[in-house]
């Protein structure tokens, strides 16, 4: 049987993410690294700063609420982009397994195009080419910059979710389709009652993985001037006169908040994956 164990080579291990993180110890340990690095850096900066000015740590504390407010926008962008991207991606993924050849090819093309384009290029394209307001005749809807960023991010997410859905559906054994067909289920019934319910479990870990990637891509929006955490950090540093001893604590803080948000989600996803593996 293909893929079975050869004496010289075991079948490929389950997704690297599941394997890797299982080995890498406790949650606290790694947040500890950054926090330690952060404290050391701040301490050193404190020691090196001019006597008359407030120390870097106090300065950072002053700006923390501001940066966190920007981080809030990062999260909002990530939620909406994930929402739109998932809905569009699920539709696109189902179109990729359509029985109609033009629908299949068309959706495949769209998926490949948005998968293979760099996220920054897509973001630029939407920011520059999407209208700044939508005129529906009876109402004019302004489209703020962050909304454009949402659209820009939902495009690659849509393409990747489309692949996740297609992959999950195609990973089910053909026997499921055949036995449903023998019982005279229509294709639609088969998808709804047999195929998709089994796929949901398989799709959740990669879906969560894509959310983490998205969350960590949202700082790109600062290049476009969207007022999120990276922009705010730059503004804060500017306001403090670009003092060199501040750059370490401020940027480390940025890294820390993203880490603190993403790492627990990643660990949770691994636990979910393991749980689903056992049940099937």
């Amino acid at each position: 049987m293909p893929g079975a164990e050869l004496p010289v080579l075991l079948p490929p291990a389950p997704p690297a993410r599941a394997q890797g993180d299982a080995r890498f110890g406790l949650k606290a340990r790694h947040g500890l690294y950054i926090a330690v690095l952060f404290a050391l850096a701040t301490g050193a900066a404190q020691a090196a700063s001019d006597a008359g000015l407030p120390g870097p740590f106090e300065t950072l504390l002053k700006w923390v609420p501001f940066v966190l407010k920007g981080f809030g926008l990062n999260l909002v962008i990530s939620f909406f982009a994930m929402l739109f991207g998932t809905i569009a991606g699920a539709a696109l993924g189902l179109m990729q397994i359509s029985l109609l050849a033009p629908v299949r090819s068309g959706s495949w093309l769209v998926t490949q195009f948005f998968r293979n384009s760099p996220w920054l290029v897509l973001l630029f394209a939407i920011m520059l080419l999407f209208p700044f307001e939508l005129d529906f005749g009876f109402v004019v809807v302004p489209v703020p910059d962050w909304m454009k960023a949402v659209i820009g991010f939902s495009l690659p997410i849509m393409a990747n979710i489309s692949e996740v859905v297609r992959g999950a559906v195609q990973s089910l054994p053909s026997g499921q389709w055949e036995s449903a067909e023998s019982l005279a289920f229509t294709r639609g019934q088969t998808l709804r009652m047999v195929i998709l319910p089994q796929c949901i479990k398989r799709m959740i870990p990669p879906w969560i993985n894509w959310y983490c990637i998205l969350a960590m891509a949202t700082p790109l929006a600062s290049i476009m001037g969207v007022e999120e955490s990276v922009t705010y950090t730059a503004q804060a540093l500017n306001a403090e006169g670009d003092r060199p001893e501040l750059i370490w604590p401020f940027y480390l803080f940025l890294l820390l908040i993203f880490f603190a948000y993403t790492y627990p989600i990643a660990r949770w996803s691994i636990r979910l994956e393991r749980k689903f593996l056992v049940k099937t």
């Binding site: 079948p11 760099p118 290029v121 750059i247």
Partner: protein, 252 residues
Amino acid sequence: MEFFADFFRNLYETTGLNFVIFYEEYEAVRFVNAIWTSLKLIVICLIFSLVVGIVGAWAQGAKSRVVRLGMAGYIQFFRNTPPFVQLLFFYFVVGTTLERAGLMPLVDEGGWTEPLIGNFGWAVISLGFFAGAFNVEIFRSGIEAVPTATREAAEALGYTRLKSYIYVVLPLAFRVCLPALNNNLVNLLKTTTLAYAIAVPEMMYTANQIWSDNVNVPEMMLVLFIYYVALVGVLVWLMHRWERKMRIPGYG
């Protein structure tokens, strides 16, 4: 060549579609330099990330607990923080600190000095370590697919641990992890566009400059998309050829 340029000049005059890079020499030169810089950046980043991946996978099997913990910390840090912020951190924080502390060697450009690691260099370091973190895990899963029995057989034949790693374990591991590696390298290629933010004159940056000067955003955007989609296509094709060459008959 002139015919080519005339065609596009004509196109601009008749339809307003401005592909200035094809008919104006200044822009054409900029464009070609951008292609060159971008390809340099991509290839060096890919190689660097592969080296990091191989060394890191090796280090993960090390006896010393400190080394293994260090690797774990490195991987978790680079996987769970935004690559864009990592880039800014390396360039603005680490880079300027080194320069101000006098630790950055300077290169004589004949009239002025440049730091040895400029924006291009920091882009390579930052993106290389970013993709390298994922590569370490990919290589690790490949190495673990090689059963202990095979390793013992190699040892019984007299291979030292290092030699068995090079001649037996790594080649087998590679075959297993090629699809995942392919995926990661394609992602790295796309991520090199981040270098825009630190003014590395690669394709994204230069395209931006060109459309700022010539007000032809849609046309340059089209060129940009074609460029990257084509590059990704080439990389995927190369990886597929490599995969086919490395296929083990009877396995998968």
